[in-house]
């Protein structure tokens, strides 16, 4: 370890001995580090290691129980985001902080002027935003309403918000978790431009190749403590993973698949977001769906989940055409669904683990009988899932809100896999998870495949698709490419299809 946390001569930012407790839990434990001008510092750590908490303290959302934050030599008053903003700190939060029904420009302007001024000066602001967009490569329509923007565009707005306020230090909390590879590349381009202009960046991600690609230095948190700091050039992905988890991580290595009978078939289906799509999911096979987000993945997931019905074409399960298609039918037909957003659709935050574990099966024995809940039965079921899927939690009576994303995901996985589904829809199953959890989830999907399930894996991470899938489809503007067997396509080839090329010739 060549780089020590406190080695800078003239740091733009200095954190001293930051400690933060939530009740009995110490989320940050005496953390100190410096940030130099023009540096990209990556912050690594498992889910719940305390990264977001630390950044929230730095930005003034939380006040630390101990320690201080200095920006350009000035100590920041605790608990005042306004002070951090004025001092030149800009933050892009893990969960975006945008008002969805307002325009880009209004979101950027918010809070930048004295509240008591007459007039908003939108004209001048628009010009300034346009200039910033150009300088930093952040293309976005200033008059668009946020709700109409893609995730990547929203992120650009978040960065523009910081730049508009002349931020000198940019904090990005898991900015790439929801981005497509292309968008990630664009983001990195922006960050490089920013650094070139003398800004400093703190970058949080669970994706080690990204950390390797963009950062100059890496700090690693574990259980709230700073456990390591290295210059990026002196390390590699394996070493970083080991520092994070404390043990070596073995990435999944799929064995050869033995495809079986078709379990689910789409015959020229059209829905709100799909155009004339035909697809066959076979037993014992993982079908990967690659594509730039927003090209119909959601529509396909909704269709298989039972939330949408075909407008034209048919959906066949084990040879039978379905009618009256609802989520309940989908579950009954043996489709296990891992939703894209575990917070919004996958779980009910204020339900306990037990209640969440039976969300899809509450009406069945042993969870209930004749409309009467059997809470003992339900709890036993939850306990079984907790034990088998190694969910870290105080117990089945804990509200799921208190679990980390990885553990939440394990519960969903357990809830789905315990039903021995014939078909599994896995929509972004590892988004936002740390590397340990990612490996765990992927191995579970492979196991399910090996025991004969048909898996549809939707992901924007091409590496993940290429590693896990036995056949790959690309989706673009609601159309589906032909199936490409494992090993027949390179990332660049897929990229062409993702950009929409080739579809003219496809069926």
């Amino acid at each position: 370890m060549t780089a020590t946390p406190l080695a800078q001569d003239d740091p733009v930012l200095r954190l001293c001995n930051i400690t933060k407790r939530f009740g009995a839990l110490t989320a940050n434990d005496g953390i100190s580090f410096d940030l130099a001008r023009g540096e990209v510092m990556a912050l690594l750590g498992e889910n719940g290691a305390g990264k977001t908490t630390l950044m929230n303290i730095l930005f003034g959302h939380y006040s630390a129980d101990d320690g201080s934050v200095e920006v350009f030599g000035q100590t920041l008053p605790p608990g005042q985001p306004g002070a951090a903003l004025r001092a030149g700190v800009g933050m892009v939060h893990q969960h975006f902080t945008l008002a969805d029904n307002m325009t880009v420009l209004d979101n950027i302007l918010l809070g930048t002027e004295s509240l008591w001024k007459f007039g908003l000066g939108r004209g001048a602001a628009r010009a300034r935003v346009a200039a910033l967009s150009r300088d930093f490569g952040l293309e976005v329509d200033p008059d668009a309403v946020i709700a109409a923007l893609s995730v990547g565009e929203r992120q650009r707005v978040e960065i523009l918000k910081a730049l508009y306020r002349d931020a000198r230090i940019l904090i990005l909390d898991e900015p790439t978790a929801v981005l497509t590879p292309q968008e990630t590349d664009a983001l990195f381009d922006t960050l490089r431009r920013a650094v070139a202009l003398g800004l400093s960046v703190i970058f949080i991600s669970h994706k080690l190749h990204e950390v390797m690609a963009i950062s100059t230095r890496v700090l690693v948190l574990r259980h709230g403590r700073l456990v390591g700091a290295v210059a990026t050039q002196d390390t590699d992905r394996h070493k970083l993973a080991e520092m994070m988890v404390g043990a070596e991580i073995i990435p999944p290595a799929p064995s050869k698949a033995t495809p079986g009978v078709p379990l689910l078939m789409l015959n020229r289906v059209t829905t709100a977001g799909l155009r004339d799509v035909s697809l066959t999911l076979r037993a014992g096979q993982i079908t990967g769906l690659a594509g730039v987000s927003g090209n119909g993945q959601g529509a396909l997931a909704d269709l298989l989940s039972g939330l949408a019905v075909p407008r034209a074409g048919t959906l066949e399960i084990a040879g039978d055409t379905v009618t009256d298609w609802t989520p309940r039918r989908a579950i009954a037909a043996g489709i296990g669904r891992i939703p894209e957003d575990r917070h919004k659709t996958g779980t009910i935050a204020d339900f306990t683990l037990t209640e969440n574990a039976i969300l899809e099966t509450y009406a069945d024995i042993p969870n209930s009988r004749y409309g009467w809940m059997d809470w003992r039965g339900a709890e036993q079921r939850a306990e079984a899932i907790i034990a088998q899927y190694d969910i870290r939690c105080p117990g089945p009576g804990t509200r799921i809100r208190l679990l980390s994303g990885g553990n939440m995901q394990k519960l969903i996985l357990g809830r789905v896999l315990e039903e021995s589904p014939r078909v599994i829809l896995a929509n972004q199953p590892v988004r936002g998870l740390d590397i340990g959890a990612v490996t765990y989830v992927q191995n579970q999907l492979l196991n399910a495949r090996d025991s004969g399930a048909a898996v549809l894996l939707i992901s924007e991470d091409l590496d993940e698709i290429l590693t896990l899938s036995d056949v790959i489809h690309v989706i673009s503007e609601g159309r589906l490419s032909p199936a490409f067997p494992r090993g027949t396509m390179k990332p660049a080839d897929l990229g062409q299809w993702m950009a929409g090329q080739g579809f003219e010739y496809a069926a």
Partner: protein, 315 residues
């Protein structure tokens, strides 16, 4: 049918609409400000009662009429402060606090009235605002009588709509207010205080509601009566939704509602009115409001964070 046309072409009918709409407009703007900032203020009915009382008693005690309006506004702001403290930093249920405020403001006004005037058996009167002709405009035939021969408070009500619309859409403060009703974290992330903005909105909004109440005692009428607000506050809550949280549309809603009220009163005297139970006329504005809501529902843009308390550090 002729009778209805007669009503519609009489200038005094249109003048009545503006008059009846005035208190609704004040209170609707007040509620709109609160809801735009994310707080449903069910205290409106009681705050209007308090405003009606406070404004009136101040004038009765010797203050000029505009002094009464100011006192009413302050009284509304005081109850707004209680509402704001309980619902914003403490994040208590906006339903309970609102109903509690309505109860406490109403009964406090009654209690204070009885304590200050224990002996009266007939409500004392003050000299209320008189209609003021606007020079030039009020001489225009028909329009002059219909629109420009109102009491100053009515003109003030429409001026308030302009101010509210201007502030909401054309100033940094309005931008922040709208944002805090859409997504408080967005506001906090930009260095503004969610608490201060929301509390400010509730306090100022409540002040306007109270002025709406004071209109009843200082302009529409000259004495304070128990129960004289008579559900007008609840109507305003509907008007805000009806107006899809936009000041100008909400004002149109108030005018429409007042229109049906004015029409209702006049229809009762027609031959048609004699055939239909008077309750049917009284019902019309409510039924139309619901119908309008049904028609508007798809386009309504509810402030996304309405009724959601914000606690920093909680997700």
């Amino acid at each position: 049918m002729n009778e209805i046309v007669d009503i519609l072409i009489s200038a005094s009918f249109w003048a009545a609409i503006l008059r009846i709409a005035s208190p609704l407009i004040f209170a609707t703007m007040g509620e709109l400000i609160c809801e735009r900032a994310g707080v449903l203020n069910l205290g409106i009915e009681g705050i209007m009662v308090m405003g009606a009382f406070a404004g009136w008693i101040a004038v009765y005690a010797g203050l000029p009429l505009w002094g009464g309006v100011a006192v009413a506004m302050l009284s509304g702001m005081a109850f707004g402060l209680i509402h704001a403290v309980l619902t914003v930093p403490f994040g208590l249920s906006q339903h309970v606090v609102g109903i509690g405020i309505t109860l406490i403001a109403t009964s406090s006004a009654y209690y204070a009235y009885r304590l200050s005037l224990p002996e009266v058996t007939s409500p004392p009167r003050i000299e209320p605002f008189q209609p003021v002709d606007i020079p030039g405009l009020s001489d225009i035939p028909f329009i002059g009588t219909a629109l420009f021969s109102q009491t100053p408070l009515t003109y003030f009500a429409f001026f308030t709509v302009l101010v509210v619309a201007f502030v909401l859409y054309r100033t940094p403060l309005g931008l922040a207010l709208r944002a805090v009703g859409e997504n408080p974290s967005a506001v906090e992330a930009q260095g503004l205080s969610v608490t201060a903005l929301r509390m400010g909105a509730v306090i100022v909004g409540s002040g306007l509601m109270a002025v709406g109440g004071a209109f009843l005692t200082l302009s529409a009428f000259s004495s304070f009566f128990f129960e004289m607000v008579n559900g007008r506050g609840w109507i305003c809550i509907a008007l805000v939704v009806f107006g899809a949280w936009s000041p100008s549309k909400a004002m149109m809603g108030a005018l429409l509602f007042a229109g049906f009220d004015a029409l209702q009163v006049r229809l009762q005297q027609t031959s048609f009115g004699a055939m239909v139970p008077y309750q049917v006329f009284l019902m019309i504005p409510y039924i139309l409001s619901i119908l309008a809501l049904v028609l508007m529902s798809r386009r309504a843009n509810v402030p996304a964070a309405l009724m959601v308390p914000y606690n920093r550090g909680e997700r």
